[in-house]
């Protein structure tokens, strides 16, 4: 089997002894045109993988910052086809792997087959569905695999080793370790339990492990790089997008913030 874009990205990192950075933004926040520009900027700044959130009316696993981003995006009333068009545009100009981050219902309504086919065609590389656990994923995984999309699952501090085994078995691309019990959002301190979680996963799987939820500054990222392969930053970036809003300075403002996060060498 050929190496997927995500595998290649992590293999390159490993080869050079570096660690990864995975930024998250919500599609359509503040509008779809800015989303394309933001994606290209994040690729230029050296993102290992980019997570693109599909907005949902009832984001039960998200904190207030991403809830508000979803609300703003949904007010721009667009369809998944519009998101795929943005991703195709992005893919013509950048090689950085891109995964969708979504709740199940919008994808279920679109149709699993149609979604996976069009996502792959647009140049997306994988998908993480927040409210889809391995036990419920048989139908989706078989369709996604056939299309050549990686499926990424969440692992939580509350997951037993038995569950981690199941998560590892079903995941491809990488495993997303949730840093704490809680919803997405910024936090001052990284929980101690996340290191233990990553080590437990590493014993069971050779897949790269990314750590997210509550990661919002450079110190936390460097901390994560000590024991995991990549750090995911979502709410902190989305908050910056919210603060600047629909403004000509948006892309450069977010770029400055991202550079600040990555100031030290990886």
């Amino acid at each position: 089997m050929t190496e997927s874009r995500i595998e290649r990205a992590f293999n390159l990192l490993r080869g050079s002894g570096q660690k990864g950075f995975i930024p998250f933004i919500t599609a359509g926040d503040p509008n779809l045109e800015s989303t394309l520009e933001l994606l290209l900027m994040l690729a230029e700044e050296g993102a290992t993988v980019i997570e693109l959130g599909i907005p949902f009316s009832d984001p039960m696993a998200d904190g207030v910052v991403i809830q508000r981003a979803s609300d703003r995006a949904l007010r721009n009333f667009f369809h998944l086809e519009d998101v795929f068009r943005i991703v195709s545009n992005f893919r013509r100009r950048a090689e950085t792997p891109l995964i969708f981050f979504s709740y199940l219902n919008p994808i279920f309504q679109y149709g699993f087959e149609r979604f996976c086919k069009e996502a792959k065609l647009s140049g997306a590389d994988g998908i993480l569905i927040t409210d889809l656990i391995p036990e419920e994923s048989d139908d989706f995984i078989s369709v996604a695999r056939k299309s050549g999309l990686d499926v990424i699952f969440l692992a939580a501090p509350t997951s037993s080793d038995e569950r981690l085994k199941m998560i590892a078995k079903r995941s491809s691309g990488f495993i997303y370790a949730v840093s704490r019990t809680g919803v997405t959002g910024m936090s001052k301190n990284l929980s101690q339990e996340v290191k233990d979680l990553v080590l437990r996963i590493k014993k069971l799987s050779s897949l790269p492990v990314a750590v997210g939820f509550g990661v919002s500054n450079r110190e936390q990222i460097e901390d994560i790089w000590q024991f995991a392969d990549a750090a995911v930053v979502g709410s902190a970036i989305v908050k910056r997008i919210e603060d600047i809003g629909s403004d000509s300075r948006l892309v450069e403002g977010v770029r400055d913030f991202v550079r600040g996060l990555l100031r030290n060498k990886r």
Partner: protein, 396 residues
């Protein structure tokens, strides 16, 4: 026909467990606790004693003579769940779940509430057991159900206003789920309806099924036969499942679930999941019929009754709908308001606006039936909480 879910909590294609990974261990713990205690003599004894001595069960099955005569058709019986302690059927489930929480060693309880009846019942059992209680409630519902907000606070609960979305039940559930994800190790989520991830739809139905067991015994005592119709309102659907479950295999008993028809047929104007706009989907942990737009975004809903104002319906109802065991109909806001005042005047019973939907449908079909036919209506709650809403709409 088999009416039990499979081991993953599916009735046919409906149900399941669609949650963030963080919650799975807690759901597994709850499932295990529930299955180990549900047939345990000590647990059952304590549950039944509290139903009897704290909530005042069994509730009467009351022959509504004047209502039946006014309508000139079938004999109508009311299952008086409104006479439970706290004024609705919700306490049946709360007593069961608080006993489980206690056995699991959880000291903090969270709940969502729409009309406030489940919040009040949760606050009540938390007071009884000395547990910390946080209730999430949409700010629109807090406005509509002000009295219940005061009751919860009087009972020692913290009521947290939810200002997202349509500020009603669905948004309160989102916020309760966010709290649970955060505090999952110490907290039990005392979910109030036959909704959410497995095992809630099954467990809540079981704790409510005392309604149907009593009703069956009572109607056999009074009439020496089973009723022709059971009628109950359906928001999430716990009072309806509670009444229906015991009769599912009695094929001659017809069952009708009454959804909120609101003020119109357009998406956003009602809460009838089996009507215009309702399609199979996934919301808040379970697969069922969901009111949504073509993109899979959840629709806003409307009902004069906060307890029926929800975009999805319990997965067991979705199954019973598809296999045609239960018929689902809808009743408009104005029909429910009319039934609210009519029952008050002819029987001296003020029903909850939720229950008034079931009464309204009974009023539609009773005149078409003969005098030897029997309807049992689940009077799921009392209407004191709804007086302000009624005044707002009717101008009395």
């Amino acid at each position: 026909m088999n009416f039990e879910p499979n081991e993953k909590g599916y009735w046919g294609e409906f149900g399941g467990r669609f949650v963030p990974e963080t919650l799975v261990s807690a759901l597994e713990e709850l499932t295990q606790a529930y299955f180990s205690f549900r047939d345990d003599a000590g647990f059952r004894g304590e549950y039944e004693a509290l139903l009897r001595e704290f909530s005042g069960r069994p509730t009467p099955l009351f022959y509504a003579r004047r209502l039946s005569e006014e309508l000139g058709g079938a004999k109508i019986y009311l299952k008086r769940e409104d006479l439970n302690h706290t004024g609705a059927h919700k306490i049946n489930n709360c007593i069961g779940q608080i006993l489980l929480a206690q056995r699991m060693g959880k000291r903090r309880i969270i709940a969502e509430t729409g009309a406030g009846q489940h919040g009040v019942a949760t606050a009540t059992v938390c007071a009884l057991f000395g547990m910390e209680c946080v209730v999430y409630m949409g700010s629109e519902d807090m406005r509509r159900q002000e009295l219940n907000v005061f009751r919860m606070r009087l009972l020692g609960a913290e009521v947290r206003a939810v200002n997202t979305g349509s500020r009603t039940l669905k948004d309160a559930i989102n916020e309760a789920l966010r709290d649970w994800v955060t505090n999952v190790r110490t907290t039990h989520y005392l979910l109030g309806s036959v909704l959410g991830p497995h095992p809630y739809p099954l467990m809540v139905r079981d704790f409510q099924s005392v309604i149907g067991r009593e009703a069956k015994r009572q109607i056999l005592e009074k009439e020496a036969r089973l009723p022709d119709y059971l009628i109950a309102c359906v928001g999430g659907g716990s009072n309806a499942m509670g009444l229906f479950y015991e009769f599912l295999k009695d094929e001659k008993v017809k069952m009708i679930g009454v959804e909120a028809g609101g003020k119109g047929n357009q998406l956003g104007e009602h809460a009838s999941r089996f009507m215009n706009g309702g399609r199979i989907g996934i919301l808040q942990g379970t697969k069922s019929y969901v009111l949504q737009d073509e993109r899979g975004q959840i629709a806003t809903t409307h009902s004069v009754s906060a307890g029926l104002d929800y975009a999805s319906i319990g997965p067991e109802h979705a199954f019973l709908h598809d296999v045609k065991r239960v018929e689902y109909v809808s009743v408009t806001d104005s029909e429910a308001l009319h039934a609210f005042s009519f029952l008050s005047k002819v029987e001296g019973i003020i029903p909850a606006l939720e229950s008034a939907h079931a009464v309204a449908y009974a009023m539609k079909i009773a005149p078409k039936l003969t005098r030897d036919q029997i309807i049992v209506v689940n009077l799921s709650g009392r209407g004191d909480k709804d007086i302000a809403t009624y005044r707002e709409f009717s101008g009395i």
